[in-house]
Assembly symmetry: C2
Homo-oligomer: 773 residues x 2
């Protein structure tokens, strides 16, 4: 936990340079445009501690698995979105002395990330060991108006220096992933070109053969005027640069503009790549820094119009929620169904930038509600495209007949995690992928998704569940053995309630979907039946039998479903009785002790209560919440969001607010002491969800948007904006509740259990009502 | 499964050279003397597939753990007995052509390992590509009369070659472990020396700083006479050699004698090491090959006198049992309590040559019965010496107050395996270490072991069990959660019957031992009580409570204890209904499928029935055997021995014989297709056990040796020899049973339920009786 970030409604601000926090700030001030992203590294040389990070969506390497003892079925690699060429580099020499903040005295250091426009600004005064003083202001952005463009404006003013300034503006492709399993380098140089002001570097990834080309042009102005200086290109292995030399006197201001264009073989044929990048760079130069920035910030303005959340009366909370929304939008733009959302986005290497169930469970709702429908649809299509791989993944474990097990971790549809207790057992993820289809259709009403896409994914997943259970003579019921639930502090348990629940729910939903597709798209249905060798009668009979006879561990005395068989054999001691010095337990306890304890990492049984709210009454939710929440240690960044929402549902406003706060400023305050590794991007989807469902009480029932807002005592007001089935709504909560329809589309809402019809471009105000129940 | 080894009563014989089998034969023909051992590599260059392996007991390296995701409590390294300098090397050039069996035509190839004297002999005729023909006979042994000495006699006869023979006799220290986790080399050269006929190489292990010195002298005779030839020493990095050149004509016979001396810093100060080795080598030279071999084979004769098992009427079975006994004797001599027995002995790298519970459970009985008492005692002292480390190991997992958890895998007392499901959970090993104390005292009667050694080990282990259980409200009993039993095809189960059984048994035995020590050694007892802060009343009360209230999963319908909670939720399908193509399942099924299946790797519940035979009646054993054995796949080399014994106990002679056969020729017939990695040394202890307890029906009850022999139908007779409390007995079973007392010590025996007293140097014959019951 740290609190050096200044509170500000629209900005992330660091004042004063603390080298120990540099990695944290590099994560926090990251910028990205959905296709490329980078940590907030310094342009000039920095010899202190830093993780230089530049990432390109979809460009990965299958790093050979590192494991002590191999087990059959293990995936052979862990895919990694690669740390790619560093194009921002500027080496600056004042006479023979290099500008390096690790070696200079640094004053008036400020780093600002403007979330409105995704502009990263850095200012500082540096006094070099020899006494030379300069003042620097740098601005940098990665354009969302043109995803191939980035630009830097680096203004250096000499305070007392007179002499030669040497500049080397470079692209460095000799990059190592810090998390490489065998200290291997993953990039090969394939081509390069330099002119006096331009440099191009083409690289290829080993094994996967992705081709990437970066090009830069560096332009210099002295005191506002173009200067004619000595210029020399420079090449080395995996390194291209333009060098410049000029004379400065005190008071001179040198402005270095560096323009970057980048593309990859995902979008251009490899042979055309450098030509394409050259043309793109020429276009960027033509437009110039200000015009590029203008287009970029206009686009950001549009993004915020449908996504902003306003909180009045609490700047920290306001900054927190905007930071979460901002980073989600920087990470995923949804214009390419081959891409997805890594737990750290473009802000670090941890988790390899690959896809987890986080996407479906925590991120999808944000994109459904704040972006065009195609964005959420592309997240679904990503899994649809991987169906065959999911079937193959199932086959590797011994399933057959088209049973699909989606991987726990993937980039291309193949499993690439390497712990059996996760990959083989944490199969509730399969349910999350099925649930996302339901969730998407429930929210968007896009029922047309089902026949061509949704049905076959659901079929594959239901087939998996049907094979994954077995009949227990002893229990006279179907059981599901050897699983790991969302609570990863248990492994290889039997009859995890949530997993069994997801299985039964999936099969039931699939039966509904079959009825729908059969009725509405009979021709396609018969085609699909043939394609998948679907024996409807036999298979659906089996599913119905499982639905009716699934075992759910239950404690009659307490009236609660148990997280798994035998859960009550554990010693149940509330987490707040633990020694605070031993928290978080995952950093202080042995795995042995954690596994045997009752402590829960994140919502597990309660995850079912979150998703299936309409199947459990409030009394039941209250009983389960009161049993499970006190033994939940919330050591996953994905835990408190769900608990905030559930607390709100049972009227525990204070608990809801407490849980919400834990997720909202997780990274800004470095709550878990790990922001240095990158931001918790997918958890940010959970934060958004927590906001709209906790404070907005948002839900969708029978195709109708439901709102049950409540205003925490410490806030004066809040508002949030969402798209819902063509309507664009703003929900403002203060003394009263105001719902504004910014679109032409009329809409019927249910607010505090009352039905309201809101015409296009109208609004309605309602007296405030508590949700206490 | 292969069967290229010729059957022979006292020899292991390979006829004809099959390069594909070379690694297997290198394992099978391994030689060792308890301090050093080596695979049966060729002396001359061999460019084909081979694992060159030379190992020195106790000389290990802590190889950094390789793991995908770290978990708290993981050990940082996996210790490995290192592959050490290769001293046997002889490069032989005929003119410019090298003798290399991978490149020559090979005729009349024979490899023979004489188990009576541990002499490795190899013969072959080789025709080089140019047509040069030679005939070679090589003999090699590692002396058990002097553990620092080895010798080779390499006789090369020219059939048609006339020209220059070049010989390079070398010690190569530039050795890599094939199983190095990060392809690292573990040895550093520290010193070397060469004379025209001698070469010395001193090496140090990285990190652990063991020092090792090898010295060799190479002597040449031509047609029986010493020859004066050109001789040159030669040095390189980690390499020392003597080179020789001489002229041969067809019919000449060159005899190369290579003598080796070796020692390590375990026995000599590092600075004195080379001097010591030089002196030792001089002594060996003085004695000469024949005299060294004579001393060596005399010692082997003595070893066999107390250990041999004779089977008449079945050469394959005879060879099998002798091979097992022979390899056990080669691996462990029991003269140094710092040493132990690795699963592969000195025959390969797998499992790192480090210590598992195999020692206590499978090897101890062999050494108790066939070697001087000090040998078995040293195996126990090995663990006693590691008590403090076992307590620290417990502390790393969160236990305290002197609770000792002995490691699953160790060389120096520290845990060095890296799977949580094994190191944290397979804790029944702690019980095996306690049981070994009981077993040793029960067999040897050495009750004096208890007060100074046994008591504190038992105290530490009982304290561990007391902390490892917890009270279950639901079951109203103590439970033990999150364990892995001997059946490693289950992980993280609750209430494994065998583990719970071991826990209760240990505490009960510890209570008995406390009573004994308190009564017989009151002063020492009070000292120990203080040393270990033992609160006798409170702690033993707690143990008694646990003993009385431990939960044991039980199925009343079948009248059987269940392997673990919920075992009957599994689908129970006998293993013989599995597709043979899918056996062994661990090579064909995913780990996921194995874990969820009912299949058992090795005796688990039945391990308790094996150890605690006096606590279960035969009917109960029969029920459990009939439930568990059919679902046991015996995919551990330690499985069939226990099942053979249990089958015999319930009179299933055929089953017993079948199970015995699976263990007896496991390596000779490469049953599991893994002999190339090394021999299953610890399983050989199980084979011996299976023999004496299955066919001998041997047991010890109330301090009295019990025999219930039966002769399998296919054998004409068998005999075995054991030491028992000072008596040296030979048990001969054929038409009748004859027990011969070869010692002065009289002994009271129970044979087929009748008590017999056998005076010193007498014998008794009894009519044969079946054990069918």
């Amino acid at each position: 936990m740290k609190s050096y970030i200044k509170h500000s409604e629209w900005q992330v601000v660091e004042e004063g340079f603390v080298p120990d926090y540099n990695r944290i700030s590099e994560s926090l001030f990251s910028i990205g445009n959905g296709h490329t992203g980078q940590r907030a590294n310094f342009e000039e040389t920095y010899s202190g501690d830093s993780l230089r990070g530049n990432y390109l969506a979809g460009v990965y390497y299958p790093d050979k698995t590192r494991v002590g003892w191999w087990k059959n079925g293990y995936p052979e690699y862990f895919a990694k979105i690669l740390n790619a060429a560093n194009w921002i580099g500027l080496r600056i020499r004042l006479d023979e002395e290099e500008l390096d903040l690790a070696k200079a005295k640094v004053d008036d250091f400020t780093r600002i990330l403007d979330m409105r426009t995704a502009l990263l600004t850095r200012r500082f005064k540096a006094t070099l060991p020899s006494g030379k003083k300069v003042e620097v202001v740098v601005e940098r952005f990665l354009s969302i108006a043109d995803k191939e463009i980035g630009a830097i404006r680096y203004r250096l003013k000499s305070i007392n220096f007179a002499g030669k300034l040497g500049l080397c503006s470079y692209i460095d492709g000799d990059i190592v992933n810090e998390d490489s399993n065998y200290d291997e380098k993953f990039w090969i140089e394939t081509d390069k070109d330099t002119t006096p002001e331009q440099a191009f570097l083409c690289m290829e990834t080993k094994k996967t053969s992705f081709f990437v080309c970066h090009g830069t042009e560096t332009r210099l102005h002295l005191n506002g005027a173009k200067v004619d200086v000595a210029r020399h290109p420079y090449n080395d292995e995996k390194f291209v640069a333009n060098t410049f030399e000029l004379s400065l006197v005190a008071g001179d201001e040198l402005c270095i503009e560096k323009y970057m264009a980048v593309n990859t073989s995902l979008y251009q044929p490899k042979d055309a790549l450098m030509g394409h990048v050259k043309a793109k760079l020429a276009q960027a130069i033509e437009e110039g820094f200000d015009q590029l920035y203008e287009a970029h910030s206009q686009k950001w303005k549009t993004r915020w119009e449908t996504a902003d959340i306003m909180i009045k009366g609490d700047v920290a909370a306001q900054q927190g929620i905007r930071f979460n929304i901002f980073q989600l939008m920087q990470t995923y733009s949804g214009d390419d169904e081959r891409l997805n959302i890594g737990p750290k986005g473009f802000t670090g290497e941890k988790y390899g930038g690959v896809t987890y169930w986080d996407t479906e469970a925590y991120c999808l709702p944000f994109f459904m509600a704040t972006a065009p429908q195609v964005v959420a649809k592309n997240l679904l299509l990503y899994r649809h495209k991987h169906l065959q791989k999911a079937i193959e993944n199932g086959e590797k474990l011994g399933f057959n007949g088209g049973a699909a097990l989606y991987p726990m971790v993937t980039i291309n549809g193949e499993e690439c995690h390497n712990e059996w207790e996760i990959t083989f057992e944490e199969i509730h993820r399969n349910g999350a992928i099925a649930y996302a289809i339901y969730n998407y259709i429930n929210y968007t009403g896009d029922i047309d998704y089902l026949a061509p896409y949704g049905f076959e994914v659901l079929l594959g997943i239901s087939r998996f569940w049907a094979q994954r259970v077995n009949w227990s003579e002893g229990k006279n019921a179907y059981v599901m053995l050897g699983v790991t639930g969302p609570n990863e502090y248990e492994n290889n348990v039997n009859n995890n309630f949530h997993t069994n629940r997801m299985a039964v729910w999936t099969m039931r939903y699939t039966l509904d979907v079959i009825d729908f597709v059969k009725k509405e798209h009979p021709y396609l249905y018969s085609e699909l039946t043939r394609k998948w060798a679907f024996n409807e009668q036999a298979e659906t009979d089996q599913w119905r039998d499982i639905i009716e006879n699934m075992h759910f561990p239950y404690d009659a005395k307490r009236g609660i479903f148990l997280q798994q068989d035998g859960f009550l054999d554990k010693e149940i001691i509330p987490a707040d009785e633990l020694d605070p010095a031993e928290r978080p337990i995952h950093q202080n306890w042995s795995w042995d002790r954690i596994l045997r304890s009752c402590y829960i990492k994140q919502a597990d049984t309660l995850q079912s209560f979150y998703w299936f709210r309409h199947e459990f009454d409030k009394e039941s939710l209250r009983r389960h919440f009161d049993f499970y929440e006190p033994i939940t240690v919330h050591e996953s960044s994905l835990s408190s969001c769900i608990h905030a929402i559930l607390a709100a549902r049972i009227g525990r406003e204070e608990k809801a607010y407490e849980m919400y706060l834990r997720t909202a400023r997780l990274d800004l305050d470095d709550y878990n002491n790990d922001t240095k590794d990158g931001l918790h991007i997918t958890s940010m989807g959970g934060t958004w969800l927590a906001f709209v469902e906790t404070f907005g009480g948002m839900d969708v029932k029978d195709g109708r948007l439901v709102l049950n807002p409540f205003l925490p005592q410490s806030w004066e007001a809040f508002s949030f904006r969402i798209n819902f089935r063509g309507a664009h709504l703003e929900i403002r909560m203060s003394e009263d509740l105001k719902v504004i329809n910014h679109s032409d589309q009329s809409i019927e809402l249910m607010v505090w259990d009352g039905v309201i019809t809101l015409e296009g471009n109208s609004n309605i105000a309602l007296a405030r009502k508590s949700i206490m129940s």
